[in-house]
Amino acid sequence: MPPASVMMAARTFPALGTFATVLVAEPGALDLAHELLAAELDAIDLACSRFRPDSELWRVNHARGQRVPVSPLFAEALAVALDAAELTDGDVDPSCGQSLVRLGYDRDFAQARRHTDPLRQPPMPAGGWRGVTLDPGQPAVRVPPGILLDLGATAKALAADRAAAAIEAATGGGVLVNLGGDIRVAGDPPDGGWRVGIADDIDFDASTARIEPRQVVMISDGGLATSSPLGRAWRRGGTDLHHIIDPSTGRPATSCWRTVSVAAASCVEANIASTAAIVRGERAIGWLDGLRLPARLARHDGTVVVVAGWPAG
C-alpha cells in the first residue's frame, strides 16, 4: 500500500484575488471537496467583498448608519472580525476600510495597483470598530456613518476554517485547505502530517508557480497563516504601500518583519496572530510566546526568530 502522501490529491484554482488549494487524503473525494470549497468561497465573497455592489458588506458600508439585516454568514464573519480587534486591542481592525481607500486600495487589487499617481488625501486612522453594532439574534448590523468595514483580514481565514470542516464532514477524510497562505486542516492527516512550505521572500501573486519555500514543516491539526507586507504591495506617487494597515496611523504598518507565520487552533486565530504580529513588530515575539502560539518571524535581512515550539531551520 502506498504511503498516504502519495495517495493525496490536490487541486488549485484562482479565488478571492489569490489562489485556493484543496488537498484530500482520499483522491476519490477531490471533486466533492473542490465543489464544497468553491461554494464556500462564492458565499464568503458575496457576503464580504468590499468591492462588489451586490455584497452584503457593500450594503452595510453604504447604509449611512442605518440598521441592515444580514445573513448568518455575514454575521459570523463580522463577529470574527470584531473578535480579532478585541483580541489584539485594535491592531487588527475591521474598520480600516477608509484607511485602505485613502491609500488607493479602493477597488479590486489587480485594478488598484495599476494606478500610480500620488494620493490625494492624507491617511486616515481606523479605530472605529467599537462603534459597530452587531445583533446576532436577528441578525443585523449597524455601522456608524463614516466607518468603512473591511473584513479581508479575517474573512478568508474564516472561509478556510469553514470549508475544511465542511469537506471533512462530507467526505469523512482528511483535508487541507489553503487560501493564499491561510491554511486549515481537518480530519485525519496523512502519515506524519501535512507538509507545508513556508515562503518568506516572494513577490507573491495569484499563483503558486513562483513560490520557493524557505522551510517545510508538518502540521496535523488547526490552522497556519502567514502575513507579510510583501504580499499585496503597490506604489502611489513614488511611495511604496502595502495592505497591512497600522490602524493607529492609517498608514501601512512599518514592521521589522517581512513575514510572520503562526500556527494556531484555527486558521482565523493564526491569521489574527500573524497579522497583529506584523503591526506589533518586536513586541510580537513576547506576545506570541506568551500565548504559546508556534510562530516563525522573518526579518527583512533574512534572519529568523522562532517561538513557542516552531521548529528551527
Partner: protein, 157 residues
Amino acid sequence: MRDRPEFPEEQPGAARADGLRRLSRLTWRAAQLSAVTAVGFAALFARTAPGQTAAGDSTAAAAAKTSPPVATPSSSSPGKARPKRVRATASASPQAGAGPATQAAAQPTAKASQTAAAAPSKSATLAPPSTAPAPAPSASSAAAPTPTVSSTSHGGG
C-alpha cells in the same frame, strides 16, 4: 407678644433641641441625596465610558503574561471597551425577519452554511494547535509541500 414662644408651655431648651433634630434630618437627607447622585453618576459613566475609552495594548500585554496563555476578550479589562454586540454565533439558516435582499444574498451561502455548524470559529481566543508544527522529514518520495505564503488578506492591520 411677637417675641413669645409659639408654644409657651415648652421648656426654654425645646426649641434648640427641635432645631438640632431638623438639622439632623436635613443632614441625613443630604447624605441620601449624595449617595443617590453618586450611584446615578456611576451608572451614567458605566454606560458612556466604552465609547470614549481609547485603545491601548496594555491588556494584551497583560494577557500574554498570564496563564493559561489564551487571549480572550475581557469586558472587565480597565480601559477596554467591547463593541456593541452580544456574543455572536452563526445560525444555520437565514432569519425570517431578514429582508428580501438579505435572503437573496444569503441563498448562495446555504450550501456552505449547512455544514458550517461543524466549523466552529474559535475566534474568541488565540489558542495554539493541539500539535505544534514539526520539522519535515527529508523524504524524497513525499509529495510537494503545500505552500503557505504571504497572506493576501487586505486589511485589518
